[in-house]
């Protein structure tokens, strides 16, 4: 037994030493997950707030109340401007819309006459453009609710499922954490495995009296320990710099370790399959972004199309995101519950370990 443990530890130590020898690779490996956190957060920096110029040609109380309603519409970052400034900004692509309050806005409303608010939209992309198109009616409804509550009686009465809203960055950064753990694990374990084949040292390892499973466990342990450092860095950035404080600390720790372990096993599998670090790199980077978009990073996948739901359920990233969102925000993202998601991930881990063993066995016989 102690002999086997020595083999495991020796393999792990060797891989850690190898990882640390290549300075550039170490830096890339350690900071890659954080890098992904920053990179993907750029995607949501703008959030849902559209930079919008407001041209106030009337400064009466109703006009002010209308602009006030716009600021409460969860959709605009308002910039008071002159007509010329606003036109200049929209032509340069610096803002998304120009809302023009006409000079007779108050007078017409006092006389119960129709009045039109001008909205010029930089209609580059329907998704973003429709947000503006819908936000103006919301502003009108809010305006009437505050100024003429007896006139427009139909209003939405909102009841929220959770006591508070969660902003884009705190929500998405938790999903990104899973992708960061994925890329860290895949690269570290994949490179370590492929390197043995590339340099031909796998032959020597297999010819030694050490048991194969012990070599495999040692290699995975080495990759796990190196990736753990990058996982801790990304967790520290998320918690202490981004400021997303977990609701369940124990779950964060447990789910992070489990997620990392699964991707270490997948990394070992692809490293053993390809026996070359280049395809491992290509696959790790190439799959990160699609899986981020496909695996429910933005919300429950049941809100999306059935094609996405089908694909998402194939990959462990989806279940890991569901667990991590629960750990950080106590959110429920699917109907499997905590134990269901954990069971699926455990099944993945066991299945993948079996697969790695088979692939190693086959690679050995071919070798």
């Amino acid at each position: 037994m102690s002999n086997t443990l020595r083999v495991i530890w020796a393999c792990a130590r060797k891989d850690i030493a190898m990882a640390l020898t290549d300075r550039l690779a170490t830096i890339i490996g350690l900071f890659l997950p954080v890098n992904f956190l920053i990179l993907m957060s750029l995607f949501v920096l703008g959030g849902g707030q559209a930079p919008t110029a407001v041209v106030m040609n009337d400064r009466g109380p109703y006009a002010q109340a209308f602009v006030n309603a716009m600021s409460r519409a969860h959709s605009f970052r308002l910039m008071p401007s002159s007509a010329a400034q606003a036109q200049n900004l929209i032509n340069q692509g610096r803002i998304v819309a120009v809302v023009t309050i006409p000079p007779d806005f108050d007078t017409r409303l006092q006389q119960n006459q129709p009045v039109n608010v001008g909205v010029e939209i930089n209609n580059l992309n329907t998704d973003f453009t429709n947000d503006i198109r819908r936000a103006v009616p919301l502003s009108i409804t809010l305006f009437y609710a505050s100024q003429f509550p007896n006139l427009v009686t139909v209003t939405p009465s909102e009841h929220d499922f959770y006591p508070q809203d969660t902003d884009y960055i705190p929500y998405l950064s938790v999903s990104i954490l899973v992708i960061a753990l994925m890329i860290g694990g895949l690269l570290q374990a994949g490179s370590a495995s492929a390197q043995e084949w590339e340099s031909g040292t796998m032959k020597e390892l297999l010819l030694s009296p050490a048991q194969r499973w012990a070599i495999l466990v040692g290699k995975m342990l080495g990759a796990f320990l190196v990736s753990l450092v990058s996982a801790l860095i990304v967790l520290a950035v998320l918690i202490f710099i981004v400021g997303v404080h977990p609701v369940h600390w124990g779950e964060v720790l447990g789910f992070s370790l489990m997620t990392l372990f699964i991707f270490i096993v997948i990394g070992t599998l692809i490293g053993t399959l390809f026996k070359n670090r280049q395809p491992v790199l290509a696959l790790s980077f190439g799959t990160a972004i699609p899986l981020f978009f496909l695996s429910g990073a933005f919300g429950p996948i049941s809100f999306t199309t059935s094609a996405i739901q089908f694909i998402a359920k194939i990959f462990p990233v989806y279940y890991a995101i569901a667990l991590m969102q629960h750990a950080f925000h106590a959110f429920t993202l699917n109907t499997l519950g905590l134990s269901g998601n954990l069971l699926v991930l455990a099944a993945y881990a066991i299945g993948l370990i079996v697969l790695v063993t088979i692939v190693l066995e086959r690679s050995t016989s071919v070798h």
Binding site: L39, P51, G286, F303, Q325
Partner: protein, 374 residues
């Protein structure tokens, strides 16, 4: 005269030999081809799959009133084209919300019509699964949109006097997926240039073949030109391939003279990527870090140039940063040419891209010369 001509032909032959060798090596390595095309292709695939769901959240609609106003508001909500509606009973709606099949439940209360007729406050209940602002704000905007449409349907008798006159800056809206094709093509061009030129350069050092090349009678300037051109040709062909596929599928169809500006921009981005690739390849000198750095650099530049969303939606500091990224100008010029048949700011875009390409080429030549010398 003949000696000069012969020398020129010899230079061309050397350049052609390097191009042929680099392109064949690139094509023979499936991992390199995958690293080049996988990120943009997978990104496009994801966009295509997701585009259908964007902007129309699934909601359960419960109508507890059979009065005329309740029927009208229900029809307004259904026809507003802002939701994917599941008409349900209260119990069904509860289950749908609990099982995360819908983002929200909209309930028309039993006394809706009666309250409306007696001019009393007449709220529509909206229960939202507010786990993130993206979906929540979509609902917060969409329900008032439907209510406004309900009042608009009343014509002159509508109490809402504030209307909306929309003027669009551009002649037509572009669908989300079609919009994504251009920045993704630009990302492909950049990754293509970086990887083909960068790997071809780094490989010469890693496999030590640079020694043999340098010992040949070829001049170092000619070797560098061959490397850059190999990257450029491969990337440009990749760009043409993507444009052709986009043309067949109807996503990228520039008209008339705008084909020329489209091709010029594609060529300039490919040249910029190849120049950057040669620079990084000569500096890094190893294949694996080169792949990691190239994909990372391309993704950063893609995201920072507003590749995923619309740059105008981003914070001012990010817009200012994007102004220094050449891809911003490539994306803008292609959008104008392909979607709007417009040459708006084309001169500026070409100048920035050409300047950036020249700069990266100069850096590439400098980096290679220094490494060759050392």
């Amino acid at each position: 005269m003949f000696a000069g001509q012969n020398k020129f032909l010899q230079v061309l032959r050397i350049i052609w030999a390097i191009i042929k060798k680099d392109v064949v090596v690139w094509l023979r390595n499936p991992a390199n081809v995958a690293a080049t095309v996988l990120p943009p292709i997978s990104f496009l695939l994801v966009q295509a799959l997701g585009a259908a769901a964007v902007g129309r959240s699934p909601v359960a609609l419960v109508n507890l009133d059979n009065g005329p106003q309740a029927v009208q508001i229900t029809s307004s909500i259904v026809n507003a084209n802002v939701f994917r509606i599941f008409q349900a009973t209260p119990d069904q709606a509860k289950t749908l919300l609990k099982d995360l099949n819908v983002v929200a439940v909209i309930t028309i209360p039993a006394d809706f019509s009666q309250r409306f007729q007696s001019h009393q406050p007449d709220p529509i209940d909206v229960t939202v699964n507010n786990l993130n602002l993206d979906f929540t704000n979509d609902i917060r905007r969409a329900v008032p949109d439907a209510i406004t449409q309900y009042y608009q349907a009343q014509g002159g008798s509508s109490p809402i006097r504030v209307g909306l006159v929309e003027a669009d800056l551009r002649p037509r809206d572009i669908e989300l997926f079609q919009y994504a094709v251009i920045p993704t093509t630009v990302m492909l061009l950049l990754i293509g240039g970086l990887l083909t030129a960068g790997l071809a350069t780094a490989r010469e050092w890693e496999t030590r073949t640079i020694k043999e090349i340098l010992l040949s009678p070829a001049q170092s300037g000619v070797i560098i030109a061959g490397k850059v051109l190999a990257g450029f040709i491969t990337t440009f062909i990749l760009g043409l391939l993507v444009l052709s596929i986009g043309y067949i599928l109807g996503y990228t169809r520039p008209e008339g003279v705008y084909w020329v500006s489209t091709l010029v921009i594609v060529a300039l981005v490919a040249l910029f990527g190849s120049g950057l690739g040669v620079t990084l390849g000569a500096l890094i000198q190893r294949i694996r870090p080169m792949i990691a750095v190239s994909i990372n650099a391309a993704l950063y530049l893609f995201f920072l140039s507003g590749g995923v969303g619309v740059l105008a939606f981003e914070p001012v500091w990010l817009q200012n940063l994007a102004a220094f990224i050449p891809l911003t100008y490539g994306t803008h010029a292609l959008q104008m040419a392909v979607f709007y048949s417009s040459a708006d700011l084309l001169g500026r875009d070409i100048a920035v891209l050409a300047g950036s390409a020249v700069l990266t080429l100069a850096l590439g030549v400098l980096a290679m010369r220094r490494r060759i010398a050392s």
